[in-house]
């Protein structure tokens, strides 16, 4: 077990270093930020001074080593635009993004699981067919367009919910949270629904197909034969057995949700790191782009690692299979 975790840790570290190299070299190749930042009337000497001040006159490998060394100290360079440490800019906006992403995941489970169970248990009813068709729609609808439609209907036409910003926040342990105030909750609702829609559809599909499979299993038939109430059979025997794949898939989806919040944040002017990255790409603010990409890549790798380890704890076949493959 320890060996498995250690090996996965090593793999993750290698991937992280490779990605950092890729991101750094790639970002280095785009445009010259000095052209954008400096006054167009500046003379040669001034441009050279600015280039030197930003460390852009050194060779690429040296810049990478400096970058790597600094990165290990938690310093990913100052933003050219805000003139603040880029990692701090990202870290300040991270809680907003995580709050949005986690709310979306919670919504996906709370709404998707019961609906999926229902479809799996009673697939022939009209309601189940409607839910099934709705889940196909949920997969097909592009997130950004759904967001616009949500704003159009609930903010503009009906005026029920606000369409931009985060609303009032409460500071808990040094982190601002929206969902603890009524105003914040109202602001959170539309973006969270928007971000969770395709995941709700995913959970519905997984839960429905899982339920349909599990219902034919002997242990469910046996539980029924024992005369257990059908509520208990469904909640304990069925639900307990369909949860493992759903938890795994959702775990892996968390990274995608964080990455996809770029879209939702842009539409709802949610002050998270996704909004920052889009504006940074347009003004070529290299340190912020690098910091965002590294942060997101790190989060994705971390989540994948955690899910893998959890999965191997839950399901011993995984690590046994790995050990056999090695031998």
């Amino acid at each position: 077990m320890t060996v498995f975790i250690l090996r996965r840790l090593m793999q993750s570290a290698v991937v992280l270093v490779v990605m950092s190299l890729l991101v750094f070299v790639g970002v280095f190749a785009i445009g010259n930020p000095v052209d954008i930042l400096i006054n167009p009337q500046a003379d040669q000497a001034e441009i050279a001074r600015a280039t030197a001040a930003l460390g852009l006159d050194k060779p690429l490998w040296e810049q990478y080593l400096v970058f790597l060394g600094n990165a290990l100290h938690g310093n990913l360079g100052n933003s050219f635009v805000f003139n603040e440490p880029s990692l701090r800019l990202i870290a300040e906006r991270l809680p907003a993004t995580l709050e949005l992403a986690l709310s979306a995941m919670v919504l996906a489970v709370v709404l998707g699981l019961p609906l999926g169970l229902y479809v799996g248990l009673k697939p022939e009813t009209a309601l189940a067919r409607t839910i099934g068709a709705g889940s196909i729609l949920g997969f097909s609808l592009p997130t950004f367009w759904v967001g616009i439609m949500l704003i159009m209907v609930f903010a503009v036409e009906l005026g029920w919910l606000p369409s931009t910003g985060r609303g009032a926040t409460v500071r808990v342990l040094g982190v601002d949270l929206s969902f603890l105030t009524w105003d914040g909750l109202k602001h959170l609702l539309l973006p969270a629904i928007n971000l969770s829609l395709s995941r709700i559809a995913l959970v519905i599909r997984l839960a429905a197909s899982g339920t349909r499979e599990v219902l034919h299993m002997d242990y469910v038939k046996f539980a029924r034969a024992k005369g257990l109430r059908s509520r208990r059979v469904i909640l304990v025997h069925v639900l307990g057995n369909i949860l493992i794949p759903i938890v795994t898939v959702l775990g892996l989806e968390t990274g995608a949700v964080i990455a996809f919040s770029v879209v939702t944040e842009t539409i709802f002017a949610w002050p998270g790191m996704g909004r920052l990255i889009i504006s940074s790409i347009t003004v070529l603010d290299r340190p912020v782009i690098v910091a965002y990409l590294m942060m997101t890549v790190f989060l994705v790798i971390l989540i994948n690692l955690l899910v893998d380890v959890l999965y191997s704890v839950l399901d011993p076949r995984v690590r046994l299979g790995e050990a056999e493959a090695r031998a």
Binding site: L22, S140, W145, M149, V156, A259, V262, I278, I281
Partner: protein, 306 residues
């Protein structure tokens, strides 16, 4: 096509049924899939013949009249020459024409990128399955790595690095998608490789390339076709998303995503049509492809066949 279907149905006896007959009959058995197919065909016709079908050339600035800006659907133009059935945008552009042209761009980018990804992914997947060894583990490691990152993150990284442009977004979409094809092909090629006909081909001392392309590939096609439809839909949605964010296609190649982004600022003032209709067009395109793809999956998946 209907003739074939009727024939297939009339002859329930298996004797005269060809695989194509059966395929068409099975596809037509789902009314929803048929609707999807018809809609998809209509969209393709619109996309291909957009310049001849559009009431107006939306990107000929001389044809636009600023006085017609932001007219609601059904308004007539100032000179009464045409009716704007879907309204106009801020430049006085007929939305219907803009959507026709946008469909053209979106579909072209989607089909082209999924097509290139198909070729690259298929080649790598075949090589991985047929040659095996180091090559296989290298390719499959790359596939796993690629698939462990969310598509939009990979696209963001690439577009942040490459900048805007049609070629660049196609490249980004290809990088996002090739791994799906490689994984699919390898999966079915691994099964096919062990069958007798491959062994027979080897005994005839045919070249590896010939066995891979003429013997292995044709037998891996069914799952590939399904993945291709899904990926075309994905590519269209992802391109629209990136263009909406302003980091996809440049303003000179207006896809549906860009049209939607363009109308987004007018949503608040109740001018819904500038965003709504391109979005509906995008949705219809994606839905029809998915419907056809779903049906193909049901038909081509041997496990689901009764």
């Amino acid at each position: 096509m209907t003739a074939l279907t009727d024939e297939g149905r009339a002859d329930t006896g298996v004797a005269v049924e060809t695989p194509l007959h059966r395929f068409v009959a099975e596809f037509a058995a789902s009314k929803l899939a048929l609707v999807g197919l018809v809609v998809l065909a209509a969209i393709l016709v619109i996309a291909i013949f957009a310049p001849w079908l559009s009431p107006q050339n939306p990107y000929d600035l001389a044809a636009l009249d600023l006085l017609d800006g932001r007219l609601p659907p059904g308004s007539a133009s100032a000179d009464r020459a045409i009716t704007y059935w879907l309204g106009t945008d801020d430049q006085g552009r007929d939305m219907l024409s803009a959507i026709f042209y946008g469909l053209r761009t979106s579909l072209a980018v989607g089909v082209l990128s999924a097509g290139v990804a198909l070729m690259i992914g298929t080649a790598l997947g075949l090589i991985a399955a047929y040659i095996g060894g180091r090559m296989e583990s290298l390719i499959m490691r790359l596939v796993d790595l690629q698939l462990s990152f969310p598509a939009i993150l990979v696209a963001l990284i690439l577009l942040a690095l490459l900048g805007q442009g049609v070629g660049k977004i196609i490249l980004a979409l290809v990088v996002v998608q090739w791994a799906y094809f490689a994984r699919t092909v390898r999966g079915s090629a691994l099964v096919e490789r062990r069958k007798e006909y491959i062994e027979a081909a080897r005994c005839l001392a045919l070249s590896d390339a010939r066995i891979m392309l003429h013997h292995l590939l044709p037998n891996c096609l069914p799952p590939l076709i399904v993945v291709l439809t899904v990926q075309v839909a994905h590519a269209i949605a992802l391109e629209a998303t990136l263009s909406f964010l302003g980091i996809g296609l440049p303003i000179t190649e207006p896809s549906l995503g860009l049209l939607i982004a363009n109308g987004f600022e007018y949503i608040m003032s109740g001018k819904y049509w500038i965003s709504l209709f391109p979005g509906v067009a995008l949705l219809i395109a994606i839905m029809s492809i998915n419907l056809v793809g779903d049906r193909l999956r049901d038909i081509l998946n041997p496990r689901l066949q009764k």
